[in-house]
């Protein structure tokens, strides 16, 4: 080994580490800035200082006591958990039928369902809203959750995964006299748990952050979810920066915590979703 190539390797790794650190700072700075501001005393948020001089948790207290964020958190939790639960359940039931049952028009039905993935989400807002009105569901949890329970991407993901479960396993259970619901519950679901977890987390994340839909189907404060509550807060208290940042910071805690522990499921969802044929 010549000394020169060793020097080149060192230079190379210095460059890479510098670049990657700068990139991490650029990507994460807004979140750090938000959290730091949330700990500042109101009125000092524009002082030129990175760290709060007199850090306070007053902003967080006020967000929960003076404003309705406790309620918004509860609403978001109810909506996101129930939507994730039922969307995953329905998608897995349907995926079971597509994977292990033979029925008429199977591939045609599947193709029609998958084709709907081409429709941009925004296009659905107007007709879905009209339907919700017609059903008299305005200002209900039903309206926030039910229209999103047919998760087409989830069905696609689960069917693809279930294709890797050996058919012989299912056939053997059938010969032993197991019913479909038993095969589904005791064999297929346990074997599909990683992808089911992925779908559950992706739908939870989607509903936790879903903004437009929750905004249009609710106009009662008691039903606001966190993003809608934030939007209304922003409208009414444009100048309360420290409170706004405190509320924002708290709102990303659940997803961030889940993400740190279950990152591989999210990454799974992203890579599996992209390689669809």
């Amino acid at each position: 080994m010549s000394g020169e190539s060793k020097a080149a390797a060192i230079i190379r790794s210095v460059v890479i580490y510098t670049l990657i650190t700068v990139a991490a700072i650029v990507v994460l700075f807004p979140f750090a800035w938000m959290i730091l501001t949330a700990f500042k005393v109101p009125g000092t948020e524009f002082d030129l200082e990175l760290m709060p001089r007199h850090p306070t948790i007053e902003n967080f207290k006020r967000v929960f006591t003076e404003f309705g964020f406790l309620r918004y958190f509860m609403n978001s939790s109810i909506v996101a958990v129930s939507a994730a639960l039922f969307a995953t359940l329905f998608a897995s039931l349907a995926a079971y039928a597509f994977s292990f049952k033979n029925f008429i028009l199977k591939e045609k039905v599947f193709a029609i369902i998958i084709a709907s993935m081409m429709v941009p989400g925004l296009m659905y807002v107007v007709p879905q809203f009209a339907i919700i009105k017609k059903l008299g569901w305005m200002n209900t949890y039903r309206a926030m959750v039910i229209p999103h329970l047919a998760n087409v991407f989830g069905l696609f993901l689960l069917r693809q995964y279930m294709a890797s479960i050996p058919r012989s396993l299912v056939d053997a259970a059938k010969i032993d006299g197991a019913s479909d619901i038993q095969i589904y519950g005791r064999i297929v679901v346990p074997l599909s748990l990683p992808i089911i977890a992925t779908l559950f987390l992706l739908t939870f994340q989607f509903h936790w952050s879903n903004f437009l839909w929750q905004l249009i189907v609710t106009n009662k404060e008691s039903l606001y979810t966190v993003p809608v509550g934030l939007a209304m807060f922003k409208q009414q208290h444009e100048q309360l920066y420290t409170l706004k940042m405190a509320a924002s910071a708290v709102s990303i805690v659940p997803i961030s915590v889940i993400f740190v522990f279950a990152q591989r499921y999210f990454i799974e969802g992203v890579t599996k979703g992209a390689v669809k044929e």
């Binding site: 650029v26 039931l93 349907a94 709907s116 107007v126």
Partner: protein, 306 residues
Amino acid sequence: MRRSRLNENLTALAFLSPFVLIFALFLAYPLFYSFFLSLNKVTVLVNVFDNLTFVGIQNFVDLFRDGVFGWSLLMTLYYAALIVPLGIGASLLLAVLLNNKLKLHSLFRTAFFLPYVLDLFVVGIVWTYIYSPHFGILTRVFEFFGISYFSETGFLGRAESAMPAVVMVNVLKGAGFGMILYLAALQNIPQSIYEAAEVDGANWWQKLIRITMPLLRPVTLFMVIVGVVAALNSFVEVYAMTAGGPSVQVGDRTYQATWVSGYYLFDTFYVKLRLGYAAAMSYVLLAIAVAVSLANLRLLRPKTDY
């Protein structure tokens, strides 16, 4: 035998029914219903269904003549033209950096991917604060370097910087998504190809252009589609940061600098309460989205098998 066939079909139906019922009512039916709405004028939103007036294709004719709609499509195109190259560039850069043997590799990956799963509305609020006039931290950084152009207005208050500022937020938030895809593709390239190329005397640049880039092509095309769809669906970031503004003078007409089609749709339907017109608008946007998807399928198919 026939009994068991019937049984098979009925069992399948039972398993399918929850999904298919919701799909039919909230994803399939709306497409037809939306078409029906687009042929009507809806006057009162309180009771949508007693106040429909059939107007035929009038909504589509009006849309065609509506200068603001044309402008919103142009702004959507501008959004796409910014987010596609910037998004691909940022994702690729992060992936190439991460594709080295690094200490703290998974920590960096987590850091880059985290913003992707966070709420866009919240991210928009934070950036509004960073971009704000006088005291916004980015405004101050620019002042530090002697640029006071944005001091009075902030970045969102000027017509020429508002759209790039909004798009940049989405680029930084979404870069981790593309990074994951590029990283997976990079790691799938067998090392032996590079070794063979080295034996043939290929240098670093030739390897990049002749081997790496072509093999990443499917991901890049996918990223183009993701960018176009993001432009067509852009609403939350605009709502959070600019509400469509600021105004921009074009000839003797005044338009709004971040008035993308998604925001116009929201404004028409939720603020102006013109459901029929908004439904017609949805259909035009759908046509664009489908055309883009089909073009993508054409482009992707023959090139993916290497």
